[in-house]
Amino acid sequence: MTLRFDIPRENFADILVKAFTNRSFLAGFVITVLVAAVAIVSFFWTPFDVTRLIIADKTQAPSPAHWFGTDHFGRDILSMIMVGARNSIAVALVAVGIGMGIGVPLGAFAAARGGIVDEAVMRLNDLVFAFPALLSAIMITAIFGPGALNAIIAIGIFNIPVFARVARAGALAIWPREFILAARAAGKGRTLITLEHVLPNIVTLLLVQGTIQFALGILAEAGLSYVGLGTQPPMPSWGRMLFDAQTRMVAAPWMAIFPGMAIVVTVLGLNLLGDGIADILDPKSRRQR
């Protein structure tokens, strides 16, 4: 499929120059790449094996051997954070994929058809919006028992109406434009116009919303794992590490401090990246959240 841009495109070099002079983008980009790199490296190498429990080394304070200390089973916190990164990223990424994959077509379809179809899609949206991810996760866990898949489904479901709304609002702003009229005069159908003219023009909006939802997904996954509805041990996850740390706050505060900072840095990086993209590609639409 060829995507044709109807709005004059800036050339790629200009965008690159803008990107690397935008502080928000630059900081977000560096942090995000670092976190992703850490996650990838964890597949091949971690300072210590996270599956081996060495009780003799339990709850050691940060030291040259264990930079972030060890947990109550003697596992290296840094290694667990590295493995936890890929878990967080995977859950959030798939959840954004579900939200975009279902939400964007729904929203674009609602905008293209209008009338009763639009109304029906929006009411469906209201319905899903009434179930915060945590409530969906609680219900799914009540049926199938806990697991990482629940977290993905619950967060993914909550992402659907978010993307449907953004896609619909974006598409509604494009439809009255002259070039759409021209396309219709040329005899193109609604589906073809949506694919060729509407979607390419709302890609920025979707990209920015994608980074927001990615960041929210990481927070949500941590929250769900923390209360035991998400990733299950022994798979290390940031939320679960915080749960283990809770009862050991006095004896081993590092068990809580470092996984939490990993979450903060990751989410901060994604949010900065999203802000930056919004600034670079469309200076008018300051991101609102």
Binding site: R123, V264, Q288, R289
Partner: protein, 315 residues
Amino acid sequence: MTVYLLKRLAIALITLVLASMVVFAVLEIIPGDPARLMLGLNASADQVELLRNQMGLNAPLAARYLHWAGGLLSLDFGRSYTYSVPVIELVRERVVVSLPLALIALALSTIIAIPVGLFSAGRHGRAGDTIAMGAAQLGVAVPNFWFALMLIYLFAVWLRLVPAGGFPGWSAGVWPALKSLVLPAIALALPQAAILARVTRSALIEVLNEDYIRTARAKGLPYRAVLWRHALRNAMIPVLTILGLQFAFLLAGTIIIENVFYLPGLGRLVFQAITQRDLIVVESVVMLLVAAVIAVNLLVDLSYAVVDPRLRSRQ
């Protein structure tokens, strides 16, 4: 105006009915027989069948839904499988913890966020704005339950100013009860305040570019008066929208935060119910929270009409 209100009300009711169907359907597809769960493994098939009839489990699907939904309307959620008391009693005991917590957090986040938003918008692009928004950017990234752990470490473990967890109950006096809600409320409120401050600021900046703001300035009104009287009011719509959405997140957040502070609220109730497979309690609490989210969003819709006269005059 009336048409707008009626339409919003109708939408809220339809959403509520659909949501109750979803929750009921989930209850239906859950494997396991509640009657057998209540009687234990040694019960005979006859006993189970008798109880199934008593509990109305053998009635047709539609009849059971209507019976269940009818019960909800009169606040009869059924009986807990494990505690053998009406679910509403369990809920009543817990809601006096969760609801005040959510409301205090909501109030706290609004009290912090609106002035910060005003401050930042008033100094748009200057150092004060950059610092405030940098802090907000950081606040958005902090998970509330981790923030809660850090607060416990600082204020309860180190400084010993407040209890690290637990709830004495309102019968122990308002002050001790409030004292044990302070840290949970702050933990919930600050990350939400960060989001709200950003929204308030960007809504204000947008409004400040409008012609009528220039007119107000041109007729000699001082900047602060313009900011408060003209700009803030017009910026309220996006702020209210986010406030409504935030209430949903606050309720969900309450469930998690209660686990950090060992507060006997709805969140603790729901997690105990999950481990004990007391599904009627799980469904009731979920339904209650969903209803609360829908109700708050309806309130937000209605408040648009109060804030924005244009909506009032339009039909």
